[in-house]
Symmetry: C2
Subunit: 382 residues, 2 copies
């Protein structure tokens, strides 16, 4: 599968952004985080793991985005479609790009309004001290971006969908090989390590996320690191991965029975897949996130209205989780091109849960599974 995108992909994203910016009277957008900057540029690097340097992208009301970035990234940014690249030698303890950014904003936006992502999930990847200085050195007025960046990210192009689908296929092949690495007596930490190796072997570029758990008929939570306790007969093993292909995530899990599953575990798994089916059945343009939540919640809690996980699915794409939440309070209508996870959880015993997750894309008429859909029966590892 091809890497990167055709330049038209970025031109389309920019045109959509500028149309929304005009509607909200914004002279520029100021972006500071990995996904925000990559969306408009294609700038793909793992260097964001280093918190030391700020990176800025200015999206003007007309014309192409301007990168205001550390010089260490200038060569890579020059390989993208961005042509106006302004850089400084970072880190600079005196002026770490602040003047360069303020000059750029003043040139582009004058005294106009500059939109900054401000809603759910967003943050300013800028030291507070610098942010104060940027505000005072910039003539324009910083205002919320009216959700423009979030709305753009939420609806994927066919090329983006293909990348998530590739990531899902990679993880699907790795999940199919779990019986090679897991079984009675193998420590969960060893399974985690080996499953990451399988993901890489099957084509993942890297594995930013792996969680899971294992215990009798379920697990205590789904965000803990793996311990060294060996798997035992009667355990349910769950692995949940966010593997990346070309900058796009999959995010789904699989449950495995170590030895023949108990009736409790078998029944819980069947109900989880039933809940996924119920949500997929109604997932189509115009249905809301809350409706999908209710369809699943009815099955996993008899309609109690949720659990401590907080939601039963979420958007997915350039980030492991992004955009809408499948909760009672999110009335976002689904739109073709949205990618969602369907992620019901069920309590199997006091303090013990099972979770199942699949990835789907909203189509013109319904939804299509991107992850290789699991059936009601768990794979048994003997």
């Amino acid at each position: 599968m091809n890497r990167g995108f055709a330049q038209t992909e970025y031109e389309t994203r920019l045109a959509r952004a500028q149309k929304m910016m005009a509607a909200h009277d914004l002279s520029a957008l100021l972006l500071t985080t990995e996904a925000e900057i990559r969306y408009f540029t294609g700038f793909l690097t793992r260097f964001w793991e280093s918190p030391s340097r700020p990176w800025y992208l200015v999206v003007p009301a007309f014309g192409k985005p301007i990168a205001v970035i550390p010089s260490i990234g200038a060569a890579l940014m020059a390989q993208t479609w961005i042509t106006d690249i302004r850089s400084w030698r970072a880190p600079d303890p005196v002026d770490d790009g602040v003047s360069l950014l303020a000059d750029t904003l003043n040139e582009v936006a004058g005294v106009g309004r500059i939109g900054v992502p401000s809603g759910r999930e967003s943050y300013l990847r800028v030291p507070q001290a610098d942010w104060g200085w940027i505000k005072s050195a910039t003539a324009g007025e910083f205002v919320p971006d009216h959700g423009i960046t979030a709305r753009l990210h939420a609806v994927k192009s066919d090329a983006e969908i293909a990348k998530v689908e590739t990531a899902c296929a990679i993880a699907g092949r790795a999940f199919a090989r779990v019986p090679e690495i897991a079984g009675q007596g193998v420590a969960l930490s060893t399974v985690f390590r080996d499953f990451q190796r399988l993901l890489l072997q099957e084509g993942a570029d890297w594995v930013p996320y792996l969680a899971g758990g294992a215990d009798r008929d379920g697990y205590g939570d789904v965000i803990s690191p793996a311990g060294d306790i060996p798997l035992a007969n009667g355990d349910v093993l769950m692995l949940d991965t966010g593997a990346v292909f070309d900058g796009y995530f999959c995010d789904f899990d699989r449950n495995f029975a170590i030895g023949p599953p108990s009736d409790i575990a078998r029944s819980a798994h069947a109900r989880l897949t039933e809940a996924v089916d119920a949500a997929a059945e109604i997932a189509r343009p115009g249905a809301t996130a809350a409706q999908l939540f209710c369809a699943m919640d009815q099955i996993v809690t008899n309609g109690a209205g949720g659990s401590d996980a907080g939601r039963l699915g979420h958007g997915l794409g350039m980030q492991l989780t992004e955009g809408l939440s499948l909760i009672l309070g999110d009335h976002t209508p689904l739109v073709p091109g949205m990618i969602l996870t369907l992620e019901p959880g069920i309590e199997t015993a006091e303090g013990r849960i099972m979770v199942h997750e699949e990835d789907v894309v909203i189509t013109q008429t319904g939804c299509r599974f991107l992850s290789p859909r699991a059936g009601p029966e768990m794979t048994v590892i003997t």
Copy 2:
């Protein structure tokens, strides 16, 4: 090697923090990022990959820290030494923990001063809209934390140093096996994928960072993802990894000659190790970051004062890069327990560089290598 830390480790960290807080008249610290929160709690999870939920830790002037976190994390936080855990079902589109946090801050700090990390590398992992609300709902005054968190992170305990040293040993074993996976005709992207597998096999928990490059006598930059071009005789292959053991990073690289190296590459590599030696020679308590920079810069640029990489090394620990920078303008004095990378770069041709990196810890009398020190000769892969 043991996982986690003894509780005394956290008690010591807290006592040091509270002493500094008293000196700056701070009634509380408000922390929002992964490293900040893990430092005081031991809360270790890869779930931070998800940007959807805010997490807060309040460090009071007296008593233990208070976690104000999404309910999905409450079970894992309860396994740490933290006992006051206040949680809400996140994401909540109406009030995503803001009221719970403001109530906690008002209870702990009253109208006092609340320190927030504000300097280099720090950011507030909070949506701007929520931050405005938090400020208005809190009686206290938010002020910069006077660098307290950064100063605490900069000086490592023996237990922390042992974890970085373990991560370094893991990466050292993986680097020693690179001839198994690299050679003429192998695509760089395949080398990247297989090197991550080696790191996991050798004991890394996960591999948050891998960069590198390969080209004749050097590479264009050191932050790009790997392409599919096969390695050729005459290439220098560089791999630079930040692998994690129990939440602590190594960060060093190795250069390999694909076939016999040219005089240019051989000489550049010898000068790079000579530069590392020069910095290590003077690295001791009281020496400054700038002095280490100058010792290396003298050798790699004849004292030109730097390059586009921006620095010749940095602090290391819970993050891939943290703390001081080896640049002309950073006069931070070294202190026993600081872990640094020594990372000189050299231009080998127009637009082409070679970089070498080792990890050292400052001791009472000098420094000690944590990474298995490379010699002046590159490993040749035939």
